[in-house]
């Protein structure tokens, strides 16, 4: 049957639907088709019917009872039925085997489970990240049907999702998906293709060498950067990487230097150094940061030494100064994290000649030095840091931390316990330094802990944020006992609690005074005080009384596992006093109090039962 003719009629009918059936009357294109249908109609009744339909559509309105629209609908209805019986199913041409790359992926998960993840991968909105991450952790990406969505989500507009797909999810499929990524990868494409290549390079083996090198040469700029970045895996491309590092584009040069740095050969390192100290400092700096070559470090230290000396000489010339400072900054940053004797000596030298180089401190020169020396366990380093601290108290924390590791507890105490009445030089300065020492001690002996902790009531988990203290045995070992007197003189409540020890009357008096006049509202007062009283060696009864008193008189904050533990252990004698304070508290603390009361009743019941 003449399918082509029918298709033609279909197109004409479609045209009339768009233009409006009112224009169908006398339509010359349909008129032209009519004889062919009439001719075919002589043999096949269906064509005859179609011919009648066409004739009706083009006939003038007056001759028909039906409207033009109705006639067109009738014709279209008949035509579409006929066309549907004539649909071709075969595909022409040569057939080949399916280019399949079998995977170990399965199709075992149910729709409902997958649909949530598919939605998260293919839509916008909140909460998608955790859904995808959870699915990944459960191993749901083992299901074949998620893979196409995962690949497509490389382009997700929400960056953390795209990054998770690129760094974690797709690499987890391992090399089995490389052929699919390769088939979807277009070297001349944009960001998505750069990311695809990144995944290919992460999981692909030697087979991707050709693709990677091709992309490095001919890809779009984004793709080239990624390709070059990964080219270090194939050392034979060192000379090509050298030529890439002369590219016009900054990003390409940066990637080439990084790749050379990872190859790490003598010639590569020399080239990067040359670029860094020459005119391409910025592009090569990333590579310099990652390169640990000892020769390179020495070169850089020499450069830094020279540049600093030069900077001192040109101190008057503002213009020259600017470029010189920029260079010094680069060198200082390049040396962060690197360790060498030459660098150590340079920093020691700089501190010894503090006055000469002081003017360069807008470059944070001495911060770099302090940061380096704080980790050196040598007497020289300690003394230099002390010297630095004496020049400027801003460096105190470095000197403090270094000395804490190197001095004996008593030496350390002698150095940092500054007593107001002894040091009478400048009153104001003393107070400030005392405060600084207090803060530095706190950094060492207190640890902030937070997170959800399991509790036996309410929602079973409670978010808590509190300070835990260095254990008493460590305090005895590492801290001089005179510190307790010093922190009492500073009226430093938290530290008194930390350093408290049995038999220290002044500390006891200090804490009891605090208990007598507690702050109306304080986040960790109860926890700190109870810990302090315990360190003083006070009895359970005193602690319990203190806790209940705090609960009664203040808005006591119980977000501390230590305090909650004391609460649960309250004896039944406190029952009525707790009941009385219930109206003052809200959830979740109210739940803790109710739980405690509940426990009291159970215990009381059991005791009563036992006594009977």
């Amino acid at each position: 049957m003449s399918t082509a003719l029918l298709q033609e009629l279909h197109q004409e009918v479609r045209r009339l639907y768009i233009a409006g059936s009112d224009l169908a009357q006398g339509d010359f294109r349909l008129k032209r088709l009519l004889p062919q249908f009439e001719q075919l109609g002589e043999r096949a009744p269906v064509f005859k019917k179609l011919a009648e339909g066409i004739a009706a559509v083009i006939a003038p309105e007056a001759q028909e009872t039906r409207t033009s629209a109705e006639k067109l609908q009738d014709l279209s209805l008949l035509l579409s039925s006929v066309l549907r019986t004539l649909g071709t199913t075969s595909a022409e041409g040569e057939l080949t085997d399916v280019k399949s790359h079998p995977t170990s992926l399965t199709t075992k998960l149910s729709f409902r489970k997958l649909a949530v993840v598919v939605e998260a991968l293919s839509t916008k909105g909140y909460g998608r990240y955790s859904t995808i991450e959870e699915a990944f952790e459960k191993g749901m990406f083992e299901d074949l049907r998620l893979l196409p969505y995962a690949i497509a989500a490389l382009d997700d507009h929400y960056d953390p999702i795209a990054r998770m797909i690129e760094r974690r999810i797709l690499p987890s499929y391992d090399s089995q998906i490389v052929p699919y990524l390769l088939s979807a990868f277009d070297p001349s494409g944009g960001k998505l293709h750069a990311k695809t290549l990144d995944v290919i390079a992460q999981i692909g083996g030697v087979e991707i060498e050709e693709c990677l090198f091709h992309a490095a040469q001919f890809g779009s700029n984004e793709v080239r950067e990624v390709a070059i970045d990964h080219l270090w895996r194939f050392e034979q491309y060192e000379s090509e990487l050298l030529s890439f590092s002369k590219d016009r584009r900054w990003g390409i040069r940066r990637a080439a230097y990084c790749a050379l740095a990872r190859i790490g050969s003598k010639s590569a390192v020399a080239w990067i150094y040359e670029a860094f100290s020459g005119s391409d400092t910025d592009a090569a700096s990333g590579a310099i940061y990652t390169c640990e070559d000892s020769e390179l470090i020495d070169w850089l230290v020499q450069d830094l030494e020279r540049a600093l000396k030069q900077a001192i000489e040109i101190i008057e010339d503002k213009k020259l100064q600017e470029s010189s400072h920029k260079k010094i900054k680069y060198l200082l940053n390049a040396l962060v994290g690197k360790r060498s004797d030459s660098l150590y000596n340079l920093y020691v030298f700089l501190i010894s000649n503090y006055m000469s180089y002081k003017s360069l401190n807008e470059l944070d020169l001495y911060y770099y030095a302090a940061r380096y020396l704080v980790e050196c366990n040598t007497e020289v380093a300690m003394n230099k840091l002390k010297e630095l601290e004496e020049h400027d108290t801003r460096y105190m924390s470095y000197a403090f931390r270094n000395a804490l590791h190197q001095l004996t507890p008593s030496q350390f105490y002698e150095r940092y316990a500054i007593w107001s009445e002894i040091d009478l030089k400048v009153k104001k300065n003393v107070k400030r330094r005392q405060n600084e020492v207090v803060e530095l001690i706190k950094e060492v002996v207190l640890k902030n802990e937070y997170g959800d902790f399991i509790v036996p009531w309410g929602k079973k988990e409670l978010y808590m944020n509190f300070n835990s203290m260095l254990p008493t045995d460590k305090i005895v070992q590492e801290w001089d006992e005179r510190w307790l007197d010093w922190v009492i003189e500073q009226k430093e409540f938290t530290l008194v609690c930390v350093f408290a020890r049995p038999g220290h009357l002044a500390a006891r008096q200090f804490l009891l005074d605090k208990l007598a006049n507690p702050p109306k509202q304080s986040e960790d007062f109860a926890g700190t005080l109870l810990r302090g009283l315990r360190r003083l060696g006070e009895s359970d009864e005193l602690l319990q009384e203190a806790l209940v008193k705090l609960i009664e008189t203040t808005k006591c904050d119980l977000h501390d596992p230590y305090v909650l533990e004391q609460l649960y252990q309250l004896p039944v004698t406190y029952h009525d006093r707790l009941v009385a304070v219930l109206p003052n508290y809200r959830r979740p603390i109210l739940d803790a109090l109710l739980y405690t009361l509940d426990q009291m009743q159970t215990v009381a019941g059991a005791e009563k039962f036992a006594s009977q």
Partner: protein
């Protein structure tokens, strides 16, 4: 002792978030108490919630086909997360202490037992206890039919006026007018026609792709035309029939908006007993015409070899409280299967079902019932497509000798005589499956049985098929869900 699997508990849940929340309760150890009855048919426990007192939840398996879930929480979801959590705890192997059946549940069981007893007595006495077809109020029905006819007139007037003016002239104002008509059709008991008109609005609404959509718009108008013509003939004939009987043969009743009751189907002999079904494919999607979520499953009737479909409609607003269906991997044992009037894939429903795990021999009929000649299968498909009101996406099992690719990269399946059938992704469900073929092993591409969905593309004059599932021996690879 009852045996539960995680999959079974999943299948009881209304939706995925209910599963997540329920498992969260188990993980957070919110269950204060877990108990079971002596005979193991009742699980009950207490779960702490946001309220002061715990929620008492229970799952009663005294009738394993229809477990009864109860909970004292105020949730409108049923079963709620607490009862589901209770079942997950059981599946996870948590310890359930033996305890007496709580009084309130014992009382409820007793009541249920009494009801059953009464029913049994009635059956013994010869009283028919099965639900009866409601007696029809004929004068009201006549009024309804007349209204439907009026509605069809209204619809016809609208569509014809659109065609006269031409689709090219339809602007936002006309679109608004059509939307008004969609609303109006609600007054004429024509929910089927209303959905189809809404579907037309959806097609017209996409102004950026109007040119590409013209063929579909035209198809939709032709469909409405067929619906109007056939509907009118059917309704007029019905009006003249003194009994005003339903037509159990064609799908026209459903097109006009009739919701078949199971009792009606039974009366027309469309109920079969003790049927075993295997789900071969499943997908959920949004039907914009009906403004509902659709959960669609394709099932093989092991005995007859027919491919049935199950459809669950979930209106947007109520979707939270209606169970979202899911892929089903076991064999469904259905005591009473109700079939709707239809073509190759009849819609089916059932009230009660039990299941058993799928055994390799269960899949033998899958291979045996698959069409080995594409020419035969295509003939049937075309016969259905010819009918403008027939289902446009018939689904069939085909035996595939091999899957191959054309030079342009299109996929083709071949039967024993080398007849080719082109594979492509189809629009109605909207999930792509063809590209997944490249991930499959060689074995899955040769000598397999494939479940495919057909569609005719008017623009290209092609009949194409989308692969939904591949069955190789006892292995099922679901490309859809």
């Amino acid at each position: 002792m009852i045996e539960l699997t995680e999959g079974y508990v999943d299948s009881l849940a209304l939706n995925a978030s209910a599963i997540k929340n329920a498992q969260g309760l188990v993980k957070k150890r919110s269950f204060v108490q877990l108990n079971k009855s002596e005979d193991g048919t009742l699980l009950f426990g207490e779960c702490s919630g946001s309220g002061k007192s715990n929620y008492a939840c229970s799952a009663d398996f005294i009738e394993p086909e229809m477990p009864v879930m109860r909970c004292s929480c105020p949730s409108r979801q049923f079963p709620c997360k607490h009862t589901l959590g209770l079942l997950y705890a059981y599946v996870n192997g948590e310890t359930f202490e033996q305890a007496d059946v709580p009084e309130d549940i014992a009382a409820k069981r007793e009541k249920a037992e009494m009801r059953e007893q009464k029913k049994a007595e009635q059956v013994a006495a010869g009283v028919d206890t099965k639900p009866k077809v409601k007696k029809v109020n004929k004068s009201a029905l006549k009024k309804k039919i007349q209204a439907q006819l009026e509605g069809l007139d209204l619809l016809e007037k609208l569509t014809l006026s659109l065609i006269r003016g031409g689709l090219g002239t339809i602007d936002s104002k006309t679109l608004k007018m059509i939307q008004e008509h969609v609303k109006q059709l609600g007054n004429y008991y024509l929910t089927g026609a209303q959905s189809e008109l809404r579907r037309l609005v959806v097609l017209l609404d996409d102004e950026d792709n109007r040119e590409a959509a013209y063929t579909s718009i035209m198809e939709q108008l032709t469909l409405l035309h067929a619906l109007i013509k056939k509907g009118r003939v059917h309704l007029t004939a019905k009006l003249n029939d003194p009994e005003l009987k339903l037509d159990p043969e064609s799908t026209i009743e459903e097109w006009l908006g009739h919701a078949w009751q199971l009792a009606e189907l039974k009366e027309f002999g469309l109920m079969s007993e003790q049927v075993e079904l295997i789900q071969l494919a499943f997908a959920g999607y949004v039907d914009q015409g009906r403004e509902e979520y659709m959960d669609r499953g394709y099932w093989l009737d092991k005995e007859s070899g027919e491919i049935h479909r199950t459809i669950q409609y979930r209106p947007y607003k109520a979707s939270k409280y209606i169970k979202e269906e899911d892929s089903f991997f076991d064999v469904a044992l259905v005591s009473e299967l109700y079939r709707y009037p239809g073509d190759i894939n009849r819609r089916v429903r059932w009230e009660k079902m039990t299941s058993r795990p799928l055994a390799p021999q269960d899949l033998e009929p899958v291979h045996a019932k698959a069409y080995r000649s594409y020419a035969d299968a295509i003939k049937l498909v075309k016969n259905q497509l010819k009918n403008p009101l027939g289902d446009r996406n018939p689904v069939m099992l085909l035996h595939v000798v091999e899957v191959r690719q054309t030079e342009q990269g299109q996929f083709v399946i071949l039967d024993e005589v080398g007849h080719r059938l082109l594979l492509d992704d189809l629009s109605p469900i909207g999930y792509k499956t063809v590209s997944l073929l490249t991930y499959l092993s060689e074995a899955n591409l040769h000598d397999v049985t494939m479940l495919v969905m057909f569609e005719h593309h008017l623009d290209t004059g092609r009949l194409v098929a989308q692969p939904l599932t591949i069955i190789k021996g006892a292995d099922i690879t679901r490309l859809l869900y």
